[in-house]
């Protein structure tokens, strides 16, 4: 009989609820500038999500509470690749995707790097090794494994990291991704944000006591970490990345988080946001287990934080976001003929034909259009 579940209590923590290092725990040695940047990106992300509630972004950027878990990308090098899930804004901003780029994608305007092709939150940034996101849960896992195998085959030491929510662990893609990674010993790190909040209801995704325990079935290490503890996340991610880079294979990280809102998947009514809108009003008190609050505590304790500095950051980023939104809203939508680009490298005859048809359509203000309707 085999029934040894991973211990639920075996969760890596570095900071207590207020950001003080726990007694007897080794804190990772992170340069001061990096720590400051971690704080800044978390703050920037939270501001962005709060603003997203109040302006024309349709709530599309909201996935509050999982910011620190996404800092698993922080110890990666620029050559490493990230295969994010939906709502991993921290991963994008950390690697240099700008707020303007994020807003342009959300609005789908002509300057979106993806040309307005996808719904909000489905970014792509080749220049940052951030892979194009899709909606179907879990599909990025085998893709990350393939890229990892490719890197190794080409003699490079790049590491691939895939991020995803706990509901994605229920998909077949999770299984084949983990299994291929383990069989190939691919340099890959799997980061599961376990918020216990999949979709609208608290649908039960697994009867296993932990997500990390799933690693056993693949023969790879599984670790649990407090996902609201930025330092603990940094620590386990660094270890997993180092292991992958050294050729010792993949790791499954389960980051325990506390989501109070998420990217809505239903453009028609956003029902998943219904129970919680009040939480997103701009306000001062931290929400429970706020990862920002804990990192702030640590920085303060380490003499790296001041009220003035944070106020300056808030001001600057709030302005930047507001400016990005205003700028983004004034950008035109993509030109209609771009509708047909990038289906293939070169436009085949049938898309040339369809483009010509669309361009010939009468439009508002076009007097050829005698029978134009309201719709």
């Amino acid at each position: 009989m085999v029934a040894v579940p991973a211990s639920e209590r075996d969760v890596r923590r570095v900071l207590d609820d207020d950001g003080k290092p726990l007694p007897g725990v080794r804190t990772p040695s992170i340069p001061d500038a990096t720590l400051a940047r971690m704080f800044e990106v978390l703050l920037q992300t939270q501001l962005l999500m709060r603003v997203a509630q109040t302006v024309q972004l349709g709530g599309h950027l909201v996935a509050m509470g999982e910011e620190a878990a996404q800092l698993a990308v922080a110890p990666l090098g620029a050559n490493d690749w990230v295969f994010p899930g939906q709502g991993d804004h921290v991963a994008w901003l950390w690697r240099g995707y700008t707020v303007q780029q994020l807003v342009d994608q959300t609005l789908g305007n002509a300057e979106d790097a993806s040309k307005g092709r996808q719904a909000p939150g489905h970014h792509a940034a080749r220049w940052l090794n951030l892979v194009s996101i899709s909606a179907p849960a879990g599909t990025q896992l085998p893709q990350a494994v393939g890229a990892a195998h490719a890197a190794r085959m080409l003699g490079r030491d790049d590491v691939m990291m895939a991020l995803f929510g706990e509901a994605a662990t229920s998909t077949g893609e999770f299984h084949v991704g983990l299994n291929f990674a383990a069989v190939w010993q691919a340099p890959c790190v799997f980061v599961c944000r376990n918020s216990g909040w999949a979709g609208g209801a608290q649908a039960v995704q697994t009867a296993a006591r932990t997500i990390a325990a799933k690693a056993i079935g693949y023969g790879v290490p599984g670790v649990r970490v407090d996902g609201n503890d930025a330092l603990a996340v940094w620590q386990v991610a660094s270890e997993a990345i180092a292991r992958a880079r050294a050729g010792d294979g993949p790791t499954l990280i389960e980051a325990l988080t506390h989501v109070i809102g998420r990217a809505p998947d239903s453009p028609d009514g956003n029902p998943w946001l219904e129970p919680i809108p009040a939480l997103f009003e701009l306000r001062e008190e931290p929400f429970p287990k706020d990862p920002l609050h804990r990192l702030r505590g640590y920085l303060r304790h380490a003499g790296l934080w001041s009220e003035r500095w944070e106020a300056e950051l808030v001001g600057r980023h709030f302005d930047e976001i507001a400016r990005a939104v205003a700028t983004g809203e004034n950008k035109p939508e993509p030109a209609i003929e771009t509708l047909f680009d990038d289906v293939y490298e070169h436009l085949p005859w049938h898309l040339r034909e369809q483009r010509a048809y669309l361009q010939a359509q009468p439009r508002a203000g076009d007097t050829r259009n005698e029978h134009r309707s309201e719709t």
């Binding site: 719904a119 077949g172 239903s266 028609d268 289906v343 049938h350 369809q354 359509q361």
Partner: protein, 324 residues
């Protein structure tokens, strides 16, 4: 008679049938306590309990795979796939299993499963909340495919689907889930599978549509009327098996046909309709049968209003068949 929108009509069909037949169960992501992303199953959990209104883990292959097993054992499952765009992880279970069980077992095992799923664009959903994958399933022998365009048909067809013994893919037009309202009887009635409806009679051109495009066809017919052209609009309602007699009868009358669908053009269902009509009514055709469809691109986000067929485009095609 009460007025309902499509969501309410679907819910009413589910509730009616679950009351009438204890073998009917509903399963899917968030269909239980939460009542579904579009609220189609809201209230059912409270009335019928967790055994019959089942929240599942996120895995479409599991939703359809377990539904098959339930049906084999004697239940009548009605799984929901949250968006038609997410049906592909269940594709093998649908195409290789669900559709083939009766045939491959020589009729010993049957799979009366009705898969409900919202389809179509127009809600700014982009690639993954907008697709219209009907053609893939119409090409799959063993399935029936149903695509209502209004609340009355939605309820009547869904009840009919749940009361017959073959697997059905039931595609609901999400864009007009709430916008389309109409009189819907309380309780039981059915709309026969396999029968089209002439939603507007006419004499000069036949326009064939289904799901969210029926509304567009009707608007085009109204434009045509203003221009003195009489258009007959056919709502196919069931796509497999489709009502070939209605199509041929109308074609024989008008001699001109325009087909409207949201899915990409190439190898879409429009192609089959053209093939079937010209095989049977070539002598009556006064002009090529034209298609007004989505383009052969993934479903776009910003330019979805350019992507979707609209009444003007249908009207142009109507004119074109007349001027040929």
């Amino acid at each position: 008679m009460p007025t309902m929108n499509i969501i309410e009509a679907v819910r009413s069909a589910l509730q009616t049938q679950m009351r009438a037949d204890p073998r009917v169960v509903v399963l899917g992501e968030d269909v239980g306590k939460f009542g579904g992303v579009f609220r189609a199953t809201s209230g059912l959990y409270d009335e019928f309990g967790a055994d019959r209104v089942i929240d599942t883990p996120l895995a479409e292959a599991g939703i359809v795979g377990t539904a098959i097993g339930m049906a084999l054992y004697g239940l009548r499952p009605v799984p929901e796939i949250q968006f038609g765009d997410f049906i592909y992880p269940a594709f093998d279970q649908i195409v290789n299993e669900l559709a083939k069980f009766r045939y491959r077992s020589g009729g010993q095992y049957t799979c009366p499963v009705v898969i409900r799923t919202p389809v179509g664009g127009g809600i700014r959903g982009g690639h993954y909340h907008s697709q219209s994958p009907e053609a893939l399933f119409i090409h799959t022998p063993g399935l029936k495919v149903v695509a209502p365009s209004n609340p009355y048909d939605a309820k009547g067809l869904l009840l009919a689907a749940m009361r017959q013994n073959d697997p059905v893919l039931f595609m609901e037009p999400k864009r007009i889930y709430r916008a389309s309202r109409g009189d819907v009887p309380e309780g039981e009635y059915t709309v026969e599978l396999g029968k089209a409806a002439i939603v507007r009679p006419g004499t000069q051109v036949t326009v064939v549509a289904w799901s969210g495009m029926v509304e567009i066809a009707e608007k085009a017919a109204a434009l045509a009327e203003q221009a003195g052209i009489s258009v007959e609009v056919i709502d196919l309602r069931t796509l497999l098996p489709f009502d070939v007699d209605a199509l041929i009868a109308s074609t024989q009358n008008t001699g001109r046909v325009v087909i409207v669908h949201e899915a990409p053009r190439t190898c879409g269902f429009g192609a089959e309709l053209i093939a079937s009509i010209q095989e049977r009514a070539m002598a009556y055709l006064e002009a090529p049968i034209l298609r007004v469809t989505g383009f052969d691109t993934p479903f776009p986000y910003s330019l979805e209003h350019e992507y979707l067929p609209n009444p003007d485009r249908v009207m142009s095609a109507i004119r074109q068949t007349l001027e040929w």
